[in-house]
Each structure stands twice: as C-alpha cells, then as structure tokens.
C-alpha cells in the first residue's frame, strides 16, 4: 500500500506504522521517538513526540483524522496522507511535548553520561524553546543503585517504559516497574532490589536519556572523546551474539555497548558478561571503527585530524579502513 508523508510517497507492507513508513523514506520527515523501540513489543505511544497529522485517512475513506495521532502506533492505510514537518499544528504540539518533558528532566548535560547520545538532547535542540515557562520546583530523587553495575538517576527519567519492556521481554523475570501515578510516577525496583540477571545491562542501552547509567563507565569520559570500535567475541551465552561496540579512551576499553542502528536502537541485545566483564582488547576480535553519523556529536573529534585508533595501530588492514572512513566522513 502507498502512503504519502510530507509529499513523499512510499510503498509499504500492510501493518506498517506511519513511523516505520517514514523511516523507509528517511531524512527529516522521520518523526522523533522517545518511547518507541522497534525491538520491543508494545512499546510506543506514550511520550507523544511522534505525533503527526493524518490529512487523508485512505483512498476508501479520505476523511482526515480528527486529532493528531502517534505515528509509532498508527498503521498506514492505502492512500493515506500524513503531515509531519509540513504541519504547523504538529510542530506546535511537539514543541509542547518537549516543554513538558523538560519540566522534570534537568538540563545537566554537562555532567550526564548520556550527553551526546541523548535523544531528548537532540529533540530539545530541534524543537525546544530557549526558555521554559515553568517556574515551580522540579521533582528530585536520590540516586539508586539497582545492582552493582547499574545506577538509576530517576530525576532524569522521562518514563518512556523502555527499560520496563526490556526487562519484561528479554530477561527471565522483571523486578522493576513504575510506582505511583501521574507526575509522582517513578521507575523503581521492589524495595530497591537489585536488577540482577544476565541481560539486565540492556536497560541502559534502551534508556533514551541518562536515567539508567553504566556504573562501570560513569564519569569516565565524554562520549565524543572516545573512539568507538565494532568488535565481537564467541559468547557462551546462548541468547547473546557477542557483537558489540567498544568505546576506547586511549588504549583502554572504558565502555562496552550493544551496537545501535541509525535510530539509536540496539541491533541485538548483549549479555552482561560481554558488557561489564570483557574490557580488554584481547577479549575481542576487532572489526574496525564504528560508523557514526556526521551530525552526531560523537563524530566531533573525528574530523580534526586523522588519528587512527590506538588499537588498530599495528593492523594495516584496519588502519586502511579507518583512514577510508574518516576521509569519507570528512568529504561528506
């Protein structure tokens, strides 16, 4: 079936959501998504950042939809016409959502480990106002150690439910969720119990902001000073494929994450052993430098000079790959 988004028509399979149809087109017309995560069933629809206007329902029923709809949960109809960045109504609503999200999310990007990888930071930059109209006290929370490897900084949480879905769907049992309601809602564990299972670390990767952070990486470095390198290993865990990104500071691996796609979503989830325990280059088979989008702040330090990653210094093949990539990025 055909769907037209901001004047660009794309053919998609039945059941495709507007968001995923837009992702097939790519570029600026892709609505932002803070809570939707394609790898997690049932996610999406909550943050309302992906609201779009359906100006024509379908060929059969061309009536427009009366309200803005969440593009991540609305499936396309044949002949549907959607407005995203071409609709002032959508932009206005999104501005409102960003303002609401930032009410209780501190702009502590200078000290936040997620800075540079934060979806809300991008969203705030693209749609936020320079000044908030909110003048009241913000809610604050004590930081909670949920397990020895993860720290929950609830003050930053925007309640996207991604971590809850992750724990629900890829770990053996979930022991954390949402407590209370309204703006008193908070992610928590039962009596601050540890989130302790082989895949718990993935909640860090799915968090769109800096609410769940890796305690083995906290305050070690800013992401744009690190060098990301794709690597893999033969992991014994049956559900883990062992494909990761290693984040280097000098010659040390200071963080291991799962690999993410262009929309910041994990391609395949990894186990805790790969994430937390394998922090030596010798543990991994290095594939080469990770491709980072030009517009990402992580790319910032890759442009000034061509500095091959320390780890590939002695490998001429990888050195050549590295060089090619940086040259291409610089040209772009």
């Amino acid at each position: 079936m055909k769907v037209t988004i901001d004047g660009i028509t794309v053919e998609v399979d039945p059941g495709t959501t507007i968001l995923n149809a837009a992702r097939q087109i790519g570029g600026d017309i892709v609505p932002p998504a803070m809570c939707y995560y394609s790898k997690l069933q049932g996610s999406g629809g909550k943050c309302r950042t992906c609201l779009v206007k359906v100006s024509k329902g379908s060929e059969k029923d061309p009536r427009p939809m009366p309200k803005l709809v969440a593009s991540c949960r609305t499936t396309v109809m044949d002949g549907m016409e959607v407005q995203n960045i071409t609709s002032p109504e959508v932009i206005e609503a999104r501005k409102g959502v960003v303002e609401m999200l930032l009410i209780n999310h501190p702009l502590d990007c200078p000290i936040c480990d997620q800075a540079g990888e934060c979806h809300l930071q991008d969203l705030g930059y693209e749609h936020g106002a320079a000044k908030t109209r909110y003048e009241f006290d913000r809610r604050t929370f004590e930081k909670i150690d949920i397990g020895d490897k993860i720290q929950l900084h609830m003050t930053r949480c925007i309640l996207c439910y991604r971590c809850v879905f992750t724990a629900d769907q890829i770990t053996d049992h979930r022991i954390h969720g949402i407590l209370n309601r309204g703006d008193h809602s908070e992610i928590s564990t039962y009596i601050q119990a540890a989130v302790d299972n082989d895949f718990s670390g993935n909640v860090i990767d799915v968090c769109p902001v800096g609410a769940l952070t890796d305690k083995t990486f906290r305050f070690k470095n800013r992401v744009w000073f690190t060098k990301p390198v794709d690597a893999h290993r033969d992991c014994n865990h049956e559900k883990c494929n062992g494909k990761v990104t290693l984040w280097y500071k000098g010659e040390d691996v200071i963080r291991v994450t799962a690999r993410k796609d262009v929309y910041g979503e994990v391609e395949e989830f990894i186990c805790n052993e790969c994430r937390f325990d394998k922090k030596k280059t010798a543990d991994w088979v290095i594939e080469g430098p990770r491709k980072i989008a030009n517009n990402s702040v992580i790319s910032a330090n890759h442009y000034d000079t061509l500095r091959p990653l320390p780890v590939v210094k002695t490998n001429p093949v990888l050195q050549e790959n590295n060089k090619n990539q940086f040259e291409r990025d610089t040209r772009l």
Binding site: L68, A93, M100, F136, L159, I178
Partner: protein, 454 residues
C-alpha cells in the same frame, strides 16, 4: 411529570431484595430475552431504542454491541463499568445501592445478547457497601436460577462477578479498566485495537456503564421503539442526573431527555432552584470534565432558543457557547462561587488521578494545578492566564486517553467564560482570599515573585 424507567420503584421498601424486586416485575426482561428472543434480536431492540452510552461519551450502545467480533471458539465478555468517580457524578452508585437487581438483570440480558458466559461488574474499590450489596444480589439471583448454569432451563450459562478496583479514576477509562481487571497497572491501552476486537484477556469485550446496562431492562420489556419515543431527537429515553452544588434539592433525578434546562433547575419536581435564594452563576452540566457554562448560556443555545437536557442541545454551539451531557453529573454554582477556586479544585483532582503514562497529561496537569494554586493563593501574574490557556491546548487531543481532555476543558472553558474573574484574582489577591477563606491577612505576608526578585 417525566416517566420513570429506572427509578420507578425507588420508594418501594426493600426493593433491593430479590423477592420485592421480582414482585414488582423484575427479571421479566431475562425471561423474555432468553425464552423468546435470539441474541441478535436483543441487539436489534437495543439498536432500535437509540440508547446512547450513559457513561459520558454518548456512543450508541446498540452499534457498540454490533461491533463485537464473534470468532469461533473465543470467549466474549461483558464488563460493567461501575468505576464512577468523576467529581459531581454519583448516579451509578445510587442505582447500585438502592436497586442492585436492575443492574444484575441488565447484565444477564445484555450478556445473553452478546454471547458472553462470564461477565464482570468492575466497581470502584472505595465503594465497599455497594460491592457487598451487589454480591448479595448476585447470590440471590443465582439461588433463584437467574445466574449460573442453564438459566431458566434455556441452556444459557452465565457467571457474574463483582471485581473491586484499586480506586483510580483512570480505571473508569475502558481500556485502563480492562488492564486493571486483568490484574495489571490501570494504564489505558492504545487504540486500536478496540475492546470489541481485543479486550479482556485479548478476547472481544463490551464495556458499558451501569446506567446503560440497567436501561436495557425497560428496552427489552417494552421494546426498543417504545423506549425511543421518550426523549428528543437522537437523545432517546431517560437519563439519570446526579445534581449537586448550590441547589435547594440536590440528588439523583431521572429525567426524560429533552427536558428544558430551566425546568430542571427551577421546578420543584427536580432541583427546586438555587439554595438560599441566590442567583445561578454557572453550571457544570455533565461531570467535572465537561466545559463549564455561565448561567445565561446554560439556559439559551447559540440561536437564543431554550436549551434542553439532551446530548445535542447541550452541545449546541460547540465549546464556544455549549458544553456536553457527559455522565450527567450536574453541578450548580451560585453567585458567591469562586470560579478560580473551583477550577483549581477540579485540576487538582485530574493532576492527582493522571496515570502518568503519556507526557502531556502527566506533566501538564501538574503544571496547570500549580499555576491555578498560585492564582488562587494570591501570587498569580496576569500572564498566568494565557499560560493556562496555552498549556491546556498543549494537552487537549494530544494524550492517549480522554483524561487529558477532561483536565484541559474545565480550565479552558473557565477562562473563556470567566476571564475577568481570573484577572480579578491577580489584581485583588487579598480580597479574593478574604472572600474565599476569610483570610484577609493570608495573601499579604507571602512575598510576590516580583517583590522577591527585586
């Protein structure tokens, strides 16, 4: 005098017991439906009646029933939404307390029509007396063969359960109710799929309000056409109105839809006028979530015709000059009522009850409440009024469920119709405090923001 269908026997002693209710003609609709009608015929009668959902949305009940998917080998459910908790609305509680068998009878007839063999009455958790009353009524009906296996020898089986809720307003939203009924956190589901396709435990489900289900009884007893003769236009039948506020005779009234608003407020048969001989200032016609209307607009439509208690007439003119029938929670405010204080009070409720699932409602309701609180307590700024309008616009229509709209409409309408009163609160903070609380000194000791900055 209007015809009473639901409250006909309200004054009969012990009408809450099975025997007295039966003596007064109770459970005839069950006998008629199960013994002489097919389920589709029952649905057809409800369609003919033009009955519209009495929970607030006013969607045609028969049409809702006809949307129910009927896949082979999959259970279907009827769920009664008895989670009534909107400020100003208390008619379902009244019905369940005094004539519980009307609901039980309606549940059996409706369940038969929908092909449901298990049905639930989801009652707000705080209503323990009503829960006990309903459980007793169900036990009585079961003992008399109107529930359980092979009802009245017709081969139809129905188990009916009362399920207390956790006590959250959001659980009155039908999908949040289903989540809660399944034992989960009461968060609204994102639609589609609608409950008629995938509802309770993923099975086709119809969720109806208490009053809607009770209204099925007279529809089947007398026929849908007869029911449709009552009322006006597409607002057929009778409606329970829970009247509160500054009225001489607050209470629950059954009115023919189409009754004039003026008669409802001033006639002795109904509210008897405004208490203490005061003038009516404003009205909330259908529960706190609907837009507030000043008295002059409540009695006259946009075309300067007499406004009627009907879905269409109350909505005449859109939100600029009209409101909604909603759940029938009627609240009257006399000339002394403070609209700002009332708006703050409503918003406080919605802030407290927002489930927190989607961002605009979670954050916006709290923001509005804080600004209104500031206005009410004498620290407001003139820009706060426009800020409130803007925040309410940012919430309206952008949330998962209608709670966002329910929170936004009272604020937007109060400012639309009573902006001068909000401005007066900004310029006469001290006087406002005196008027509302008798606390002349209260507003002064607290420094205003501008003074603090200086």
């Amino acid at each position: 005098m209007g015809r009473k269908l639901l409250l006909e026997h309200i004054n009969v002693p012990n009408i809450n017991t099975f025997d007295v209710y039966r003596e007064k003609g109770g459970y005839r609709s069950v006998e008629k439906a199960l013994k002489t009608m097919t389920p589709d015929e029952v649905v057809e009668e409800v369609k003919k009646s033009g009955l519209r959902g009495r929970g607030g949305a006013g969607f045609p009940t028969g049409m809702k029933w006809s949307f129910l998917a009927k896949p082979e080998g999959v259970a279907r459910y009827l769920v009664c939404n008895a989670d009534e908790s909107e400020p100003g609305t208390f008619k379902d509680r009244f019905l369940m307390t005094y004539i519980p068998h009307a609901l039980i009878e309606g549940m059996i007839t409706s369940s038969y029509a929908l092909g449901a063999n298990t049905s639930y009455i989801y009652v707000r958790g705080e209503m323990m007396p009503q829960i006990r009353i309903l459980e007793k009524a169900i036990a009585e009906a079961k003992a008399k063969g109107f529930l359980g296996k092979n009802i009245l020898g017709t081969g139809y089986d129905l188990e009916l359960y009362v399920q207390p809720g956790g006590g959250a307003y959001i659980c009155g939203e039908e999908t949040a109710l289903l989540e809660s009924l399944e034992g989960k956190r009461g968060n609204p589901r994102i639609k589609p799929p609608f409950p008629a396709i995938a509802g309770l435990y993923g099975c086709p489900t119809v969720v109806n309000n208490v009053e809607s289900i009770a209204a099925v009884v007279p529809i089947i007893n007398d026929g849908g056409d007869e029911y449709a003769k009552l009322g006006i236009g597409r607002s057929t039948g009778t409606k329970l109105i829970s009247a509160g506020g500054n009225l001489k005779k607050p209470g629950v009234y059954e009115i023919d839809l189409g009754l004039s608003c003026e008669e409802f407020v001033y006639s002795d048969e109904y509210c008897g006028g405004i208490a203490n001989g005061k003038r009516l200032k404003a009205v909330v016609a259908g529960g706190s979530s609907v837009p507030i209307l000043p008295a002059n607009l409540f009695f006259k439509t946009a075309n300067n015709e007499a406004r009627l208690m009907s879905y269409e007439s109350l909505a005449d003119g859109g939100f600029a000059t009209g409101t909604m029938m909603g759940s029938g929670g009627f609240i009257a405010f006399d000339e002394d009522a403070c609209i700002v204080r009332n708006t703050w009070n409503f918003t406080r409720f919605y802030h407290h009850e927002s489930c927190g699932q989607c961002s605009p409602c979670r954050e916006g309701t709290g923001w509005m409440e804080k600004v209104l609180h500031r206005l009410e307590y004498g620290h407001g700024k003139k820009s706060d009024i426009d800020l409130l309008v803007d925040v309410s616009k940012k919430i309206e229509g952008n949330t998962i469920c209608p709670l966002g709209d329910a929170a936004a409409w009272p604020v937007a309408s109060a400012i639309r119709h009573f902006r001068d009163e909000f401005e007066w609160h900004v310029t006469n903070a001290s006087e406002a405090m005196t008027r509302n609380y008798g606390l002349a000194h209260y507003a002064d000791p607290l420094p205003k923001k501008e003074e603090t900055a200086a």
